[in-house]
């Protein structure tokens, strides 16, 4: 499966990169790690006339902890997430979710920006970005705009990214030290695309009642979504086993997956409920502070 023909440029600045995208209006695509884009091109499902390789642009691979939260550059790779102490402390949910991404070799090249730009419904990065309320910064020749991850992801492989835009920053809000969190996904083999996955975090007050909660689902619809009704159900409750079971049941009724060659819609619904229950249980059963693994 040889690649279709294309032109290749490797600019050394964002200005240059944006100009190339603008010049080729819709016919040029950003090349980051290439771990999703190249297979798509090998199958000739996409044949961009030009690839703009942003690997040589400096400072796109930074991980920064600021007052307002954690910032990731678009070229941060999965292996960087794995090894980063900052991410372990300031976005442990991301770290755990990313441990499910692909395999060793792909993890040395695949990037957070690339995954967000693709918006595969079964991918972990979009799910965590949406669940945790991340904000993306999109750069183009006309400036930088910010957009919430939830607004950025429109549907299956569909985003708000305009043809002349580049993701330059992903900002995760500050993560409270005492937060509980859990991530469970189920795939046929380790590293395969998930049949479904659930990301959850919650905070508790001194009485042990849930004060804040977010639940994100991947792989069970056209794109990653938050289960807001289930979140509302949990807020103000004590998370005992009965509550967990109810959450699972409610979750099953709130998603609308379709049948595909891997699984039926019924299976995915049931799976999401099961994974939510297991994610909540593992979050609860971890030591204080919610450092669930």
């Amino acid at each position: 499966m040889k690649l279709p023909p294309f032109e290749y440029e490797a600019p050394t600045s964002l200005v240059e990169a944006a100009a190339l995208l603008a010049k080729h209006s819709g016919e040029a695509r950003i090349l980051a790690g290439g771990q999703s884009l190249l297979p798509i091109m090998a199958y000739r499902l996409a044949s961009p006339a030009m690839l703009v390789d942003i690997a040589r642009i400096p400072d796109l691979r930074l991980i920064r902890v600021e007052e307002e939260g954690l910032h990731l550059g678009p070229l941060v790779r999965w292996c960087d997430v794995e090894r980063s102490d900052e991410i372990a402390r300031h976005q442990p949910l991301l770290k755990q979710a990313i441990s499910h991404v692909a395999h060793y070799q792909v993890r040395n090249r695949g990037t957070v920006g690339g995954s967000l730009a693709l918006a595969d419904p079964a991918a972990e990065m979009p799910c965590i970005a949406v669940t945790c309320g991340a904000t993306l910064s999109l750069y183009s020749g006309s400036g930088t705009r910010k957009i919430a991850a939830e607004d950025f992801i429109l549907g299956e492989l569909e985003t708000e990214l305009r043809p002349d835009e580049i993701i330059v920053d992903i900002h995760f809000p500050k993560w409270p030290a005492k937060r509980f969190w859990g991530f469970k996904e189920f795939a046929k083999r380790r590293g395969d695309f998930a049949l479904a996955g659930v990301a959850v975090y919650f905070d508790q007050d001194d009485a042990g009642l849930v004060t804040d909660c977010a639940i994100g689902v991947l792989g069970a619809g056209t794109c990653t979504t938050r289960l807001r009704e289930v979140e509302q159900r949990l807020i103000g409750s004590r998370l005992d086993s009965r509550c967990v079971a109810e959450a699972g049941k409610l979750a099953r009724s709130k998603i609308e997956p379709s049948d595909d060659i891997h699984a039926s819609a019924e299976y995915r619904k049931a799976l999401v409920g099961t994974l939510l229950e297991r994610a909540l249980s593992s979050a609860l059963n971890s030591s204080a502070g919610g450092r669930a693994q």
Binding site: M1, P5, Q105, V106, R109
Partner: protein, 160 residues
């Protein structure tokens, strides 16, 4: 386009199209056919090479992306005409049958043990799960890699 890489310790040049993958460049331009293609869509791992010390799927890289990199392929793992400790361990444990996935297994294991010489069986299995084999059933491959750890812990097998 002209690219320059250091291949198995030697500086080489290649003239490639942008669409030429690193795998095809290694195999058919630089004539190092030890790196194999078994899927060309990044699932099987047979094409794994080591780029600047990190294992990567060469079918998911353009040759032009590898310009000025230092690359090690399976041909660069041995020591002269001797088998490296990792290669000898594969032979001892019958960790190959048809030999087609073997180069990818070796480069992956070498990259792993070079950076994590204390990797336990679970970690080895986790990493090798990205390399498909149809002949051996993997049991002897894991055994061979475990048996080769000592050489990396002793510093016998420095990564290039």
């Amino acid at each position: 386009m002209n690219i320059e890489i250091t291949l198995n310790g030697t500086a080489v040049e290649a003239d490639v199209e942008p669409r030429t993958t690193l795998a095809d460049c290694l195999r058919h331009v630089l004539r190092k056919t030890g790196t194999h293609l078994a899927c060309e869509h990044g699932v099987c791992g047979a094409c794994t090479v080591i780029v600047n010390g990190e294992a990567m799927r060469s079918c998911l890289m353009l040759a032009v992306q590898a310009s000025s990199a230092s690359i090690t392929t399976v041909e660069g793992l041995g020591q002269g005409s001797e088998l490296s400790p990792l290669q000898a361990s594969f032979k001892k444990h019958n960790a190959l049958q048809c030999g087609f996935c073997t180069p990818g297994m070796l480069t992956t294991a070498h990259a792993l043990l070079s950076t994590e010489p204390d990797a336990d069986e679970d970690r080895i299995r986790e990493v090798i799960s990205g390399n498909l084999c149809r002949c051996t059933g993997y049991v002897p491959i894991i055994e061979a890699i475990l048996d080769a750890k000592a050489a990396y812990q002793n510093g016998e097998s420095a990564s290039s």
